[in-house]
Amino acid sequence: MPDSHAIAESAHETAHQAGHEHPSYLRHHFESVEQQADATNFAMWLFLLTEVMFFGGLFTAYLIYRNWYYPAFVAASHQLSIPLGGFNTLLLITSSFTMAMGVWCAEMKKKSGLVLCLVLTLILGLGFLGVKTIEYSEKFEKHHVPSYHYSLNSFLNPDSDEAAKASGDKPMALDMARHTEVYFSLYFAMTGMHALHMIIGIAILGFMIFRAQAGAYTSGHVTFVENFGLYWHFVDIVWIFLFPLLYLISRH
């Protein structure tokens, strides 16, 4: 079939002439825009499933150690600031709202609305990371970062520590107090992985704002915004689980 290519070309031509114009964003290997949107959307959900499994490993570790070392986990969780964590939760939920509004704006082809929503989402995300930085730096100051400099002082001698004193912690036996390091290991691993996802999300947001201003998402091709929205909501949901698990252990 030496001339098969020519046939393929002409078949493509006739398809074009037959009436239905392809929008420029339809990739060549899809039959229709619906199929393309459907496939990429499904792919995003699958990707989120892999993310669930990724965080699932951490949650499993958390589950086991929390059961083994419950008193240490309670005392260590008192070192976290519920107001700061609560404020961050609020920031993230709001950012999910602005993101959802952004998807709606893209669907309604409102360009300036979309840009505004994306910028707001970006600012709220950065706000979250800012608060997280404050929280992390406090851990560094108190030597609560697991490593060779880890300090058990707040747990062996709670009266010397404001946060522990305020929660009414009793001095712990050395054996159990040592396990607070496992808590902080998990705290940093879980919130660190979450923050990494936030940073990646913010980078993509920056790129999207740039593209949205050029009108890329308001011409009917909204799958990218939709799929990014899914990702953003997912990262939000991970935090919704992290907040009670890490901050609210002893508060029922």
């Binding site: 020519a6 990739r27 990429t40 792919a43 499994m53 490993g57 083994w68 390091e181 496992v182």
Partner: protein
């Protein structure tokens, strides 16, 4: 044409490989490095996989050479540890896991379901780049000192006690894991959303079913090993305590997380191979696969059961006796769907018109060796025998029977079977049949003695051993050199065939799959127009009718 072959080639005096095809469409190195075409990406994978296979194979050669004598005389014991670790890392992460899916799966899934490409061509290319990045990083760690933890990165050895390149090797595996995740994700989306009109789930070739099941494993299991590696890295660099018993962590948790991936990974490796065998057995016995539905669902069953057996790698590592009993029973359950496949292939052969072309020889090799590998797996799933046999050469022989005797045989069967489709040219039949037989003989010589060594109690992972084990080790090393020849031969004659092989035509095997109903090598768009699946899968009568129609219209 003799009666003992089904090969039907076009008249060689007039036949030509089609001028316009996916290989000739564009030229230049960039047209390959920036391609979105699933067929080109498959070729990229094939070349890079073969490269890593021969690196891993050379390391295996060094291992066998060291074990020729009871003393550690070829290399220092530390070096030996590094050599077997790198052999494992390269063979598992850079050959076995991507082998069939990334080459044949990539090439064939869109063709088999009548699509123009995978759903996400850019992601597909990205996964090749990730694979290469991981592979190059692994090679870099090898030349800058290597790693000696075994491919399992077992804690606390990997976190506390060794000074080798654990971090970079872990990172290499992590990156390769993402490549695997993206490949699996792409396959699932493609199989769900890109099927041609009329291509229902139960008209899908069993190759596609097997890849679907393997993809589910890639997507669900790989992220877990990713997080396990991240935790090892954090533990090693900044000393967090999750796996450190001195801080209250539990090293066993690492094993749970690791084997939660690495056991399903075994099925990631073998399931696509089983898909290849289904296609080959059907084509060369001219029969629909017996019990199509059972074979299709057995793939899914293997994938599901595969998630619930991981702790059988940990029977002697301090898990509770109850856990041992439960995981032992669950492990034996996996034998059921595997046996369903073997029995159904056997029934497909029964009263079929069997011919013995090279892919079929490899497929027979697979059926025999995989059965031995699988049944010895049941020995190891039973905790009583496992406690005796674990950490001995019995284990080594068992997983090499499954991986090398099973997966590699299937890989070679598939490469030969679809070679005419990929390149438009036939491989030389006689020499390749010889290579298949040499591989089979060499394989048995290499690995069967290791079963005996294992039952006699020779431990794995040591450079030296008591002198009474030497005879069997010499057998094994001699077999390995035969096996090496068996693997080198295909490289030589397949490369030769690129230029000098007979022109294959569209359908040299008279096979029924959609991939055979288009030109060889296919067009970049795969089909001239979207095919419509109006017949059943493996429908040889439909094919006969098709041929008669062609003859009638041509005459």
């Amino acid at each position: 044409m003799s009666t003992n072959t089904i090969i039907s080639l076009p008249d060689q005096s007039t036949a030509r490989v089609p001028k316009v095809n996916y290989l000739s469409k564009e030229n230049g190195i960039l047209s390959w490095l920036l391609t979105g075409d699933h067929k080109r990406i498959a070729i990229l994978y094939l070349i890079s996989l073969s490269f890593f296979f021969f690196i891993g194979g050379a390391l295996a050669g060094l291992i066998r050479l060291e074990l020729l004598t009871p003393q550690a005389d070829l290399m220092a014991t530390d070096t030996y540890n590094k050599v077997f670790t790198m052999h494992g890392v390269i063979m598992i992460f850079f050959f076995l896991v991507p082998s069939v899916p990334a080459t044949l799966g990539n090439f064939l899934i869109p063709l088999m379901i009548g699509a123009k490409d995978l759903a996400l061509p850019k992601i597909n290319l990205l996964s090749w780049y990730l694979y290469m990045a991981g592979g190059i990083l692994a090679l870099y760690t090898m030349v800058t000192g290597g790693v000696d933890t075994g491919w399992t990165f077992t804690t606390p050895l990997s976190t506390h006690y060794v000074n080798t390149n654990v971090l970079t090797t872990g990172l290499a595996a992590f990156i390769a894991g993402f490549s695997s995740i993206f490949t699996g994700l792409n396959f699932i989306v493609t199989i769900h959303k890109m099927r041609a009109p009329g291509m229902t789930w139960f008209k899908l070739p069993l190759f596609v079913w097997a890849h679907y099941a393997a993809s589910v494993l890639m997507v669900l299991a790989t992220p877990v090993v990713a997080i396990a590696i991240v935790l090892v890295a954090l533990e090693r660099t900044i000393g967090i305590g999750v796996f450190d018993p001195t801080k209250g962590g539990d090293p066993l948790l690492f094993q749970h997380l690791f084997w939660f991936y690495s056991h399903p990974a075994v099925y990631i490796m073998i399931l696509p191979g089983m898909g290849v065998i289904s296609e080959v057995i059907s084509t060369f016995s001219r029969k629909r696969v017996f019990g199509y539905t059972a074979v299709a669902f057995s793939s899914v069953a293997i994938a599901v059961f595969g998630f619930f057996v991981w702790a059988h790698h940990m029977f002697i590592m301090g898990i509770s006796n109850y856990a041992v009993i439960v995981f032992s029973l669950l492990t034996m359950l996996v034998a059921v769907p595997s046996a369903i496949k073997i029995f159904n292939w056997a029934f497909t052969l029964y009263k079929g018109s069997i011919t013995f072309e090279t892919p079929m020889l490899y497929a027979f090799g697979f059926m025999g060796l995989f059965t031995i590998g699988g049944l010895t797996g049941v020995f190891l799933g039973v905790s009583g025998t496992d406690i005796h046999l674990t950490e001995t050469y019995f284990i080594v022989a068992h997983f090499h029977f499954v991986m090398v005797g099973g997966m590699l045989m299937a890989f070679l069967a598939g490469i030969h079977f679809w070679w005419p489709k990929m390149t438009g040219r036939m491989y030389p039949e006689k020499i390749s049949q010889m290579a298949a037989v040499v591989t089979f003989i060499g394989f048995n010589f290499t690995f069967f003695p290791q079963f005996i060594l294992g039952t006699l109690g020779m431990p794995r992972r040591y450079a030296s051993y008591p002198p009474e084990f030497q005879i069997l080790n010499v057998f094994s090393t001699a077999g390995a050199s035969i096996l090496g020849v068996g693997y080198l031969l295909p490289v030589l004659y397949l490369v030769w065939s690129l230029k000098y092989g007979a022109v294959a035509g569209d359908n040299p095997w008279q096979a029924t799959g959609l991939e055979w109903q288009t030109q060889s090598p296919p067009l970049t768009e795969n089909f001239l127009k979207t095919p419509i699946m109006d017949h059943d899968v493996y429908d040889y009568e439909w094919l006969e009718a098709q041929k008669e129609k062609e003859v009638a219209s041509a005459g």
